[in-house]
C-alpha cells in the first residue's frame, strides 16, 4: 500500500481534503445540503442583532397598527415585512432570527453540559467497573425509562420552587440548560462506558499501567481520545434533540422568559392565530425549527455512517 499513500498531498489542508471523512462528505449530497442549511441558520442566528431588519423587542419601534401585516407586504406605517408581522406589529422574520439565537444557545449549552457529564461518568464506569459501574449505569437505566421531556419538566419545576421569584427571570436560561442537560446525559454515559471497556483491555493501556501512570491521566490522555468518535455522533444528534426539547418546554410555557422568546415561544404565540387566518405567525418559526433540527439530525446520521467502517 505504500505506493498508494505516496501520492497523498502534504500540508494540513491537503490532509483534510484527502481524508476519508472529507471524501465521504464530498460524495454525500445529503450531508452537503444539510451542512449548508445548518450553517446558514446558525450564522443567521449568531448575527441576528446585526442582520435583523427590525428590533422586535424595542417597544418604541413597534406600531400596533402594523399588527397582522401579511408576508411580503408593506404595513400601515410603511415598513416592509418579509414574513409578515404578529399581533403586536413585530416583524416575524426578525423575531425568528432572535428566537433561533436563544434556541441554539440553549441547545448547544445543554448538549455540552450533558456531554461533559455523560462522558465523565461513562469513563469512570467503564474503567473502574464493579460498584461504581453498577451504580452509575443503574441510575442511567432508571433515567432512560422516563421520557426526557418529563425529567426536564421535573427538574425545571424543582428549580422554580427553590429559586426566589425575583431571581427567576435572570436564572431561567441557566435552569433550562441544566434541566435539558441532566435529562440527556445517559446516552453519552452508555456509549462511552462500552467504548471504554473495549479500550481498557488494549495493550497500550496495560503499558501505561506498568509504568505507573495514574488512572486519571490514563482516562484523559489515553482512553478519551479513542472514544470521542461515537461521542461526536451522539452530540450532533443530541443537539437536534435538545433544540426540540427546548422548543417543547417553551411551547408548554415553562421555558425561556417571555422577554427572550425562543422558537418554541414563537410557535406558542403563533398557534393562537392559526384558526383566524394569520398562519404566518406560526408557519415561519415552525419551518425554521424543523429545518434546524432536520439538518443537524441528518449531519449526525451522516457522521455516524462515516465514522463506522463496517457500514462503508
Amino acid at each position: 500500500m505504500s505506493e498508494l499513500s505516496a501520492q497523498a498531498p502534504r500540508g494540513p489542508i491537503g490532509k483534510i481534503i484527502d481524508s476519508d471523512i472529507f471524501y465521504s462528505y464530498r460524495t454525500s449530497p445529503v450531508a452537503i445540503v444539510a451542512s449548508i442549511v445548518a450553517v446558514v441558520l446558525i450564522l443567521a442566528a449568531v448575527l441576528a442583532p446585526w442582520i435583523a431588519p427590525y428590533d422586535p423587542f424595542n417597544p418604541r419601534t413597534l406600531n400596533l397598527m402594523d399588527g397582522f401585516t401579511k408576508p411580503m407586504s408593506e404595513s400601515f406605517s410603511g415598513n416592509y415585512f418579509l414574513m409578515g408581522a404578529d399581533h403586536q406589529g413585530r416583524d416575524v422574520f426578525s423575531t425568528i432570527l432572535h428566537g433561533s439565537r436563544v434556541s441554539l444557545f440553549v441547545g448547544l449549552s445543554a448538549t455540552l453540559f450533558s456531554m461533559t457529564l455523560g462522558v465523565g461518568l461513562g469513563l469512570v464506569a467503564g474503567y473502574r467497573g464493579g460498584l461504581a459501574d453498577a451504580v452509575i449505569m443503574r441510575v442511567a437505566d432508571v433515567q432512560l425509562s422516563f421520557p426526557a421531556i418529563l425529567i426536564a419538566l421535573l427538574i425545571f419545576g424543582v428549580a422554580r420552587g427553590l429559586i426566589p421569584p425575583s431571581q427567576q427571570e435572570n436564572t431561567a436560561l441557566i435552569v433550562l440548560v441544566l434541566a435539558i442537560g441532566l435529562a440527556n446525559w445517559a446516552q453519552f454515559a452508555r456509549t462511552v462506558r462500552g467504548a471504554t471497556m473495549v479500550e481498557r483491555q488494549k495493550d497500550y493501556v496495560s503499558a501505561a499501567r506498568i509504568m505507573g501512570v495514574n488512572p486519571f491521566f490514563i482516562l484523559i490522555r489515553h482512553i478519551l481520545p479513542n472514544v470521542v468518535g461515537p461521542v461526536l455522533v451522539i452530540a450532533t444528534i443530541g443537539l437536534a434533540l435538545a433544540i426540540i426539547e427546548e422548543a417543547t418546554l417553551s411551547y408548554l410555557g415553562v421555558g425561556v422568559p417571555p422577554t427572550q422568546p425562543s422558537l418554541g415561544t414563537l410557535i406558542r404565540i403563533g398557534q393562537q392565530f392559526l384558526f383566524s387566518g394569520e398562519w404566518w405567525i406560526l408557519f415561519f418559526p415552525g419551518i425554521t425549527l424543523i429545518l434546524l433540527a432536520l439538518s443537524v439530525n441528518l449531519l449526525g446520521d451522516w457522521l455516524r455512517d462515516a465514522l463506522n467502517p463496517r457500514l462503508r
Partner: protein
Amino acid sequence: MTQPLLSVRDLSVVFHLRRGDFTAVNSISFDIMPGEVLGVVGESGAGKSMTGTAIMGLVDRPGEVTAREILLKGERIDGLGEEAMRKIRGKRIGMVFQDPLTSLNPLYTVGEQLIETIRRHLPLSAAQARQRAIDLLADAGIPKPEERIDSYPHQFSGGMRQRVVISLALAAEPELVIADEPTSALDVSVQAQIIKVLKRLCAERGVAVMLITHDMGVIAEAADRMIVMNKGEIVETGSVADIILRPKEPYTIKLIEAIPSIKAQNPRFAAATARGEGFAADNIDTPLVSVENLVREFDLSPSMLARITGRNRKIVKAVNDVSFVIRKGQTYGLVGESGSGKSTCARMMVGLLEPTSGTVRLEGTDIWRDRNASAKRRSKIQMIFQDPYASLNPRWRVGAIIAEPMRALGISHNATEIGDRVADLLEKVRLDPAAMRKYPHEFSGGQRQRIAIARALSSQPEFIICDEPTSALDVSVQAQVLELMSQLQEEFGLTYLLISHNLAVIRQMADAVGVLHNGVLVEDGPVEDIFGAPQADYTRMLLDAVPDIAKVA
C-alpha cells in the same frame, strides 16, 4: 499427461480504490492435479488468500477478478453467474477457513449443518444423510459421533471444531478443497492432528487440496507441490522438497533462511561449546528475578451468592505453584499452549495482576509486598506485547509514545532532553528519528514492534518481559525483530523473559526454558537440555508436533 483438475490462467484481482487501483493478485497461472496437495505460501499481503477467494468467486466490490480462464476439469468456472457458482461451491469445491468459530453457524447443531449441506448436493433421504454425517464425523476423528452430532459448535474445542469444518467441506464429495490457513488459529499439538486428518481424508477420497498458509513447516509436512507468492505474483513453483532444499529465487532463499528451525541448536550454546567453555546457563550466578511458588486463581463461580456461601464455587488455578529463576543478562523462555498460564505469569511478574499466593522477587525485593516495591518494579521492569497494533495508542505521536515511560517515571521533564533521548532510541531500534513526528498507523507491523521496543527501553529497564513479541509478524520480519532484540540485550545487558508458543524461536533465543502445561511448570532447565533430551512426556509430545521444514521428505 492427465488433465489438471484445476487450471488457472492469468488470474488477476484488482481493487478499485479511491486512491487508484491496487493489484492484489497479478496475472498468475497454475495447475492442480487430481488428488494433489498444492501448498500456497507467502507473507501477509502476498495475495495467497485472495487467489483462493477469487477461484471460488467470492471477491466483493470494490474488487474485480479477471482471468483468461479458470478451468475445473476442463469446464470454465470463471465469469459464471452467482447462481451457477453457488452450485459449484460446496458441491465441487469445498472450503476450510482459518477460524472454525466463525465458519460454523452457532445457532444450529453441527448435525443440522452437515445434513443440510449433504442433502442440498446429494440425492439422499434425511436418515441416509444423517448416517453419512455421522460417518464423516467419525472419519474426521471425532469420538462418539452418534452423540456429538447433536451438539452445538460452541460445545466443541477449537481442534474438534476444525474437524467438523473439514467434514463439512467434504460432505458433498467435492473434487477440490481450498483450505485457507486451516491450522493457524490452533495450538501446535492440535495443528499436527488436523493436518494429518486433512491429508488422510483427501488422500482416501482422491480429493485435491489447495493449502494456503504462511507456515512453511505446515507445507513441508502436508503438501506435494508448492507455490511461493510475493506481492501478488508467483515467485517460484515446484515440488516441496525442491523448493525447501534447493530454492532458486532470491526471495524464496531469503524466506527460508528467515525461518527458525526447531532442529537448529541455540547459536550461543553452539559458540560456547566451540570455544570449549561451559554454556552460560549452567553457571551458578546470582538470579535477577526469582519466581517462588506462584499461584493465581480465578473465581468463575456462577453467582455472587455462590461466592459468599461457598456452594457451587468454581475456582480455576490458571497458574499453579510455578517456580523458576532468571539470571542476569540471560533470556528465559516460557513455552506452552494457549491456556497454559504463560500470559498470566507475565502479568503477575510485570505488576498488572496480583498473585493469589507466592512471590516474584526482583534483586531480592518482593515486587508485590515490600515497601517501595511498586516504584522499583516500574523502574526496572518493562514489557513488549504481542499485537503491535493494540499496544501503541493510535492517537499519540510516536515521539510521545516512546517518551511516556520517561515522563511517567519522572526520569526527565526537559523537552529537549527527552527529544534527544527519543531520537537516540529510534536509532537504536534502526528507525529514522524523523519517525517521532508520525502516528503509529503510518508504520508496518515490524516497525511498530520496533517502536514498542524503543518505548520499553526508554526507562532504561533491566528486565523486559516479551509476550509473544513476534507471533503477529511475518517470518522475515520476525527474524529482524529477534536479531534486534539479541543485539540490544548484548548492548544494554538486558534480561529477557520470552514467552512464545513457537518452540523454534525459543530454542534460538533462550538460555533456559520452562515448559508450562495447564498452569503447571512441567519442565525447566538449560535450553539444549530441554530440546536435546526432554524429560517430561508433554515436552516430548510438543516437540514432535511442531511442523518443521527440516521434516521434508
